[in-house]
């Protein structure tokens, strides 16, 4: 197991540079006119264009230019310098501000998915076809029919403005309570998926040979479900949740916008829109580490949940 983890960590380095290289290439290929993008609808003067072009090496065109800029990024990264965004801010500062709040938000979302989704999923799976099971199906459909883009402003208006149960916006440095509503909104789709996934897995495993064997051996149902079924059923669920952690962090664009949280999703969106290559790559650099680490943790958990799974 130890050697497996070491090997994975080495592979991670490759994956890290693979992702940043591709993202860099995409930014490079998609680059229209970042200086104009920054200026919005205002005309850009020749002097200003020359100044920004030189400052950000935007004059490096073609394949050579691409590798020049990527090499530049990598050397700076190794020195611990993430560089400067096209807006002139230090990318390190932006990341230091955006990541903590986004991490909190995503964890709330994930916790909601785990606590409600997995619990309800287990119950629904055991009582498959029952009233509770059908109620969870309706909930799933509601979440799909009312996507985040509708749910977020609706929750903000009803719970934040009308009933004043939550602050309507969270802001840059929110309390945990202020993040609760956005976190729940964010976690809704993950909740629905986690719920259906758990339910299906549990239902599936309840019918498997080993459960029948265990029951035949006279083991109490509670123990069969609690130990054997749940353990095996959780494998796809934690896999999903592991990936979802990264998705919640990088993809909370709507939620962060509606609740005015200047986090990673929002910054990523803004950076992509303004063709701010250095900032996009900086944000993705951290995001990919989240994916890599959470996927590794999940893979290691397989062996914990099912001792028959071994990594050599």
């Amino acid at each position: 197991m130890f050697r497996y983890i070491v090997r994975r960590l080495l592979q991670m380095v490759l994956a890290f540079f693979g992702t940043t290289l591709i993202v860099y290439a995409l930014m490079f290929a998609g680059q229209g006119d970042p200086i104009q993008a920054l200026a919005g609808e205002r005309p850009v003067s020749a002097a200003q264009r020359a100044y920004l072009t030189e400052k950000f090496h935007l004059d490096q065109h073609g394949v050579g230019g691409f590798f020049y800029r990527y090499a530049d990024y990598v050397t700076n990264l190794l020195r611990g310098d993430l560089g400067e965004s096209l807006t002139g801010r230090k990318i390190g500062d932006i990341l230091a501000q955006a990541w903590p709040v986004t991490a909190k938000l995503a964890l709330i979302g994930l916790l909601v998915a785990i606590i409600i989704g997995v619990t309800c999923g287990v119950v629904a799976g055991i009582r498959r076809g029952g009233v509770f099971d059908n109620a969870t199906l309706v909930l799933t459909l509601l979440v799909l029919g009312v996507p985040t883009i509708v749910l977020a402003p609706l929750a903000q208006y009803l719970l934040g403005v009308k009933l004043s149960l939550f602050p309507p916006t969270a802001g840059a440095d929110p309390s945990l309570y202020a993040l609760l509503l956005p976190g729940i909104v964010l976690g809704c789709l993950s909740l629905a998926t986690a719920l259906r996934l758990t339910r299906t897995s549990v239902a599936e495993n309840l019918r498997s040979d080993y459960v029948r064997t265990a029951k035949a051996k006279g083991l109490p149902t509670r123990r069969v479900v609690g130990v054997h079924v749940l353990r095996n059923s959780l494998i796809p669920v934690i896999t999903f949740l592991g990936v979802e952690l990264g998705n919640l962090m990088g993809g909370a664009i709507i939620t962060e916008g509606v609740f005015n949280i200047p986090g990673v999703g929002f910054n990523l969106f803004r950076a992509i829109r303004t063709e701010d290559g250095p900032l996009v790559v900086g944000l993705v650099s951290v995001l990919v580490v989240v994916y890599l680490v959470s996927n590794l943790v999940v893979d290691v958990l397989y062996a914990v949940l099912d001792p028959r799974i071994r990594y050599e």
Binding site: L26, L141, L144, L154, L189, A192, T200, N295
Partner: protein, 305 residues
């Protein structure tokens, strides 16, 4: 439904005598299905939506593009059963005509996602070692690429106004970046299924890699991924709206549920109907696919007999 047949055939492969297997199991399944009201309800729903997508004119005489501000948010009438939206378009007619683009985007993206995910997840999970290392790192890399970035770069180049081209491009982008979760999930079920006794038994009886994967492991690993895909189907339909809104997805005059949900949301405090109608169409379609998948899987599952 192709998955279901695979399941059936595969399950049969390990439970029944090879000479009689397909008929008896499929026959049993069909007998089960015929008696299952949920199957009929969901089948009818799917057929209705499909018909809507193919011949929308059967369901409404009205033109979804006939909009005039003087009818803004006008209530239901004989001419328009659900009334009119913010632009004064017939809400019902737009929902009917939106079925084509939305169904195509949702179903095709989910199908393509499923194919990529099953191939990658199966190979990685089954072979392990360097195959897994290579494929799983590809998954990690794709996970790190923001959908929006790839969508903007790839779709901005498409200048065609042809709806088929644009739908194809949207499907391509959604699938090429959307398969990773499903692949991780199927890999996990394959890893876990690989340990089961029947797999060891099959291999001992001389089944090759291909046969073991296809006949024994896949059928037992599909359930979780089907869940992920049916939900993804719904979110792909919503994601299309985001791309369209940015100007890189579908273009007018193409109508879709996602676009209408989005514009309905902006004015939901004035009138909720233009939001609720396309949302309901979307939710019912997903419901139909979830139920149909469930019913067919159950029917083919020998463990339930």
């Amino acid at each position: 439904m192709t998955e279901a047949h695979t399941v059936g055939a595969a399950e049969a492969g390990r439970t029944a005598d090879p000479t009689t297997r397909p008929r008896s199991l499929a026959g049993d399944a069909w007998r089960d299905l015929r008696r299952n009201p949920i199957f009929w309800v969901s089948l009818i729903l799917v057929l209705v939506v499909t018909a809507m997508a193919i011949v929308p004119g059967l369901f409404t005489p009205n033109d979804p593009l006939d909009c005039t501000l003087s009818r803004q948010h006008a209530g239901p009438s004989g001419a328009a059963v659900f009334g009119y939206d913010f632009q004064g378009c017939d809400v019902y007619a737009r929902a009917v005509y939106g079925a084509r683009a939305s169904l195509l985007v949702g179903v095709l993206s989910a199908a393509l996602t499923g194919v990529i995910a099953v191939v990658v997840g199966m190979l990685a999970g089954y072979f392990g070692r360097w195959v897994d290392a290579a494929l799983s790192r590809v998954v990690d890399i794709v996970l790190g690429i923001p959908l929006l970035l790839a969508a903007i770069v790839l779709l901005k180049r498409i200048d065609s106004d042809n709806p088929t081209v644009r739908i194809g491009a949207v499907v391509f982008v959604l699938a090429i970046l959307g398969w990773t979760t499903a692949a991780r999930v199927i890999r996990s079920s394959v890893i876990s299924a690989k340990q089961q006794d029947y797999v060891a038994a099959a291999r001992m009886l001389g089944a090759g890699n291909g046969r073991t994967m296809w006949r024994h492991i896949l059928p037992n690993s599909l359930a979780p991924v089907i869940v992920v895909l049916t939900i993804a189907l719904g979110s792909f339909i919503a994601a299309e709206a985001t791309l369209s809104f940015l100007g890189i997805g579908l273009r007018a005059p193409t109508v879709s549920w996602g676009i209408d949900i989005d514009s309905g949301r902006t004015h939901m405090r004035e009138s909720a109907v233009p939001l609720v109608v396309p949302s309901t169409f979307l939710a019912l379609t997903v419901l139909a696919f979830i139920m149909l998948g469930d019913a067919i899987r159950d029917a083919f599952d020998p463990k339930l007999r």
